[in-house]
Structures are given as structure tokens and as C-alpha cells.
């Protein structure tokens, strides 16, 4: 446990020391929030769906945590390049613990970033339907972030350089996000898009976040949590398997 704690702490320490990372991590989601929230707000209203900002904020929180948690995989690549990875690879500690410590740290910082975006959105006029549900929303976000951080450590173990890692982000994570219903309702979309969204695990996190924050759900919270749990298990197994096999 001590090992997991200190590796978790390392992620947190490094995050809080890097002001640019904190600003950078929140910058992009905020841009989405402002540009889409205000840009498409009126169209959304005319379509008869109400306040777009309300609808958008849970999705943008998922976006923030998703990409922030993916960053943990990039940390593994940096650690490999700067040599620190070797230090942990030869330590007499199971690789599972090493990965979990780091991934939990990465997930914690990712959740903090998502929560920060939520906090800022209050000033933009976002209101949760029930303030007591805000901590639950943050927990759901953390649940997703752990899965993604484990997934990204698997990717970071396989891919040797940042270019390769960016390619995974571009061709896998971005599409998963854009096709998840984070930015638009899935009610009146073409059938193919609906099917893609339904097999996309990110859709269920977005749906669970909406359930918690604006009391809207398409799949139902039970189904959301089941899918999120399966995703988590698959990601932990994938991450642990790949991480265990790293050679340096």
C-alpha cells in the first residue's frame, strides 16, 4: 500500500508543481465550452431542446478527464525517455502495484481537472439540478479516469515514442469522444451513429455524468454503471498485462 501511495503522490506532486499543465489542461475544454456553448446555444434552443450549456457541461467534464487521464500514458513514455522508468522496473515490487499507483495518481489529477472545469462552468451559468449530486458526479468522473489511466498505461507501455502515442490519441480517443454523444443528443441522429455511440464505452460515462448533474439519462444509470465497470476491468487487465511486459 505504501508503494501505491507514494507513486500516487508522485503524480500529484508533479502535477501541482506544473502550473502550465494545470492551465493547459483546462484551457482546451474551456474553449470547447465557450465556443460550442455560446456558439450553438441558440440553435439548440430553437430546436426545442432547452439550454445547451446545461447539456454540454457534463460532456466537457468527461472530455477534460478523458484527455487528462490519457496523459498518464505519455508520462510513462517520458519516464522511459528520461530513464526514471528503469528505477521502478527493477524495484522488488509487483508491476501491478507500480502501474496502479501511477494510474490512480493520474486519475486523481484528471478528476481534479474535470472538477475545475465544473467549478468554472458555475460562473458561466451552469447549474446542477441538485447540488448534493455534485460529489457523486465527481466520483463517476474518477471512476472513468481510473479506467482511462490504466488504458493509457497499456498504450504507454507498448508505444515507444510520443508520436506514436499522439497517433493513438488522434485516431482512437478523439473519435471515441466525438462519437460519444458528449456534444450532441443521441436522440435524432442517424442509425449508424446511434449504433456507434451504443458500443462506445465513453457514451455511458457521459450519460452517467448527465444523470448526476442534470438528471437526464438515455441508457439509464444502472446500464451506465455496468458498462463503466466492465470498461474499468478490461482497462485494468489490459494496462497491467502490457505494463508487466515492458523491457527497458
Amino acid at each position: 500500500m505504501r508503494v501505491i501511495y507514494y507513486l500516487w503522490l508522485r503524480q500529484l506532486t508533479r502535477f501541482t508543481r506544473s502550473k502550465s499543465r494545470i492551465i493547459g489542461s483546462v484551457g482546451q475544454p474551456l474553449l470547447f465550452l465557450l465556443a460550442l456553448g455560446y456558439g450553438l446555444g441558440s440553435v439548440y434552443k430553437k430546436a426545442g431542446d432547452g439550454n445547451y450549456l446545461q447539456f454540454l457541461v457534463p460532456g466537457i467534464m468527461v472530455q477534460t478527464a478523458l484527455f487528462a487521464a490519457m496523459f498518464f500514458g505519455a508520462m510513462i513514455i517520458f519516464d522511459r525517455q528520461f530513464g526514471f522508468l528503469k528505477e521502478t522496473m527493477v524495484a522488488p515490487v509487483s508491476r501491478l502495484k507500480i502501474m496502479l499507483g501511477g494510474a490512480l495518481g493520474g486519475a486523481t489529477t484528471a478528476t481534479m481537472q474535470g472538477a475545475l472545469v465544473l467549478f468554472i462552468s458555475f460562473f458561466l451559468g451552469f447549474r446542477p439540478y441538485n447540488w448534493a449530486m455534485v460529489p457523486i458526479a465527481v466520483l463517476i468522473l474518477f471512476y472513468l479516469a481510473v479506467a482511462i489511466a490504466c488504458f493509457s498505461s497499456g498504450i504507454g507501455s507498448v508505444v515507444q515514442d510520443m508520436q506514436g502515442f499522439q497517433a493513438i490519441n488522434q485516431f482512437l480517443v478523439f473519435p471515441l469522444y466525438f462519437l460519444s454523444g458528449a456534444l450532441y443528443p443521441l436522440d435524432n441522429v442517424p442509425t449508424w451513429l446511434r449504433i456507434v455511440a451504443e458500443v462506445n464505452p465513453i457514451s455511458y460515462s457521459v450519460d452517467a455524468m448527465r444523470w448526476a448533474l442534470i438528471n437526464q439519462t438515455k441508457f439509464g444509470i444502472t446500464r451506465d454503471l455496468i458498462v463503466m465497470t466492465i470498461t474499468l476491468i478490461v482497462c485494468v487487465v489490459f494496462g497491467a498485462q502490457r505494463f508487466r511486459r515492458i523491457e527497458a
Partner: protein
């Protein structure tokens, strides 16, 4: 303490380590010497579980490094050839994390970190980010960290690379002391032959992935009719300069690339 039998490591069709067999007894200070790209680091990486051998068996303290990784890892400490400290953390944080990874008891932790950081004269910089350190300071921190958990077996992969004479002396004095007082086994590589001569109880020359000679410094000199170890070394390995074929980070890719260019 260390036992290698017919160990082979291939990267693609390139054989970095070619059927090495050797044995190092408890308490020995063993030096593995050879030109760049001879297979020294690859051997150490296999011994320290960072690379899996293509074939052959490696035992550390009686544990098979492939099958009993965790047990093998418990027995050794290592100072790597290239940097492996986290530059975005302080010197103290690096030491602390290492102590935790190696299960140094809480009661001894603070004292040991202080003792070692004082030894390498970094105690007054313990709270500075490693990023702000000079190359020599980082190296000293790595050495202090490698010694922190008092391993039974210590690997030093070119530990004095880029260090000034003062720090080199300090390091070898401390290593000698550990070896004497705790009967610690030392396995090291270096390009400074006088270091091997002064500090190793037994020396092996490795070239093109093969052990070409093994014995004490005196024996090796006698065998080649040389006055110094350096002379013996040059007689056996030749004077031609080698290209390092195995890159530290990306060994496989590097090999493929260098092959493609040929």
C-alpha cells in the same frame, strides 16, 4: 551469487550476447570490461530483469531472473549507466521513493537518506529539484540512491562516467567499505581500467558478446605478458574503435536502423 549459463541475447539477427557463462561468488568485486557495444550493458540488463534473455539461464542469489523476477529483484541494487532519477522531484523525494520501493524500514529511512546524501555531498541541496542539478550532481544522487537499501549485490554500470576524480575516489572508498563490512557482492563495468585494477577482485574481458578472458588483474597481465591491465586489455580486444550498436533506450529499433543503413 551470480551464475550465468550459456546466456544469449539476440536483437533481431544481431547477437549482442553470445553464450556467456560465468560465476561470481558472494563478496567478490567483479569487473566486466570491454569495448563499446561488447555486450556489457545488455548483460547487466538481463541480470537486472530489464531484458529477457533469448536463451540460457541467469541466477541471482539462487533465483532465476526470468521465472522469479520479484525474488531476484529483492537481492540487488543498481546504479545505471544513464540517468534514471526523476528530475521534476527533489533529491530527497527521489531518495524517499526509492526507500519505499525497496521497503526500507520507516525507522531507518531518514537516517540512511541523510547519511548517503551527506556522503555524496548533496545534503544541503536535498530540497532542490533535480532538474537544477549539474550532471555530476545527478550522478552522485544516482549513486547514493543505489546504495540506499544496502543490497546484497550491487550492480554498477559505468558508475563513475563523467565524475571528477574526487567523487570517483569517494565512491570507490564507500563501495570497498560496503563490500568489506557487509560482504556485499559488487558487479561493475567501467572504461577506466585503473578503477578495475584497483577495485576488482576478479575481471572478465568481454568482446563481441563473448567472454574472452577471466581472472585477477595479475593473472590477466601475466597471460598476455603485459605490465598493466590496460596493456593486457588492448592486447586482447585490439585497438580498433567500435561503434556502439546497442542504443540504451531503443535497442531493437536502433539495430534495425543501423542495419538498414548498411
Amino acid at each position: 551469487m551470480i551464475e550465468l549459463k550459456n546466456v544469449v541475447k539476440k536483437f533481431g539477427s544481431f547477437t549482442a550476447v553470445d553464450a556467456i557463462s560465468l560465476e561470481v561468488k558472494k563478496g567478490e568485486r567483479f569487473a566486466l570490461l570491454g569495448p563499446n557495444g561488447a555486450g556489457k550493458s545488455t548483460t547487466i540488463k538481463m541480470l537486472t530483469t530489464l531484458l529477457r534473455p533469448t536463451s540460457g539461464s541467469l541466477l541471482l542469489n539462487g533465483h532465476n531472473v526470468v521465472k522469479e523476477q520479484a525474488a531476484a529483484r529483492k537481492s540487488f541494487g543498481i546504479v545505471f549507466q544513464d540517468p534514471s532519477v526523476d528530475t521534476e522531484m527533489t533529491a530527497y523525494e527521489n531518495m524517499k521513493l526509492h526507500a519505499v520501493l525497496y521497503g526500507v524500514p520507516k525507522t531507518q529511512l531518514a537516517d540512511r537518506i541523510k547519511e548517503l546524501l551527506e556522503l555524496v555531498e548533496l545534503w544541503d541541496r536535498k530540497d532542490s529539484l533535480v532538474r537544477t542539478f549539474s550532471g555530476g550532481m545527478k550522478r552522485r544522487l544516482e549513486i547514493a540512491r543505489g546504495l540506499l537499501h544496502h543490497p546484497k549485490l550491487l550492480f554498477l554500470d559505468e558508475p563513475t562516467l563523467g565524475l571528477d576524480a574526487q567523487t570517483r575516489n569517494l565512491l570507490w572508498e564507500y563501495v570497498q567499505k560496503l563490500s568489506r563490512e557487509q560482504n556485499m557482492t559488487i558487479f561493475f563495468t567501467t572504461h577506466y581500467l585503473e578503477e578495475a585494477e584497483a577495485n576488482a577482485s576478479r575481471i572478465a574481458f568481454i568482446d563481441h558478446g563473448k567472454i574472452i578472458a577471466i581472472g585477477t588483474s595479475k593473472e590477466l597481465e601475466k597471460r598476455t605478458d603485459s605490465k598493466t591491465l590496460e596493456e593486457a586489455y588492448l592486447k586482447m580486444t585490439g585497438t580498433k574503435i567500435r561503434d556502439e550498436k546497442v542504443d540504451k533506450h531503443n535497442s531493437r529499433k536502433e539495430i534495425l536502423r543501423s542495419r538498414a543503413m548498411r
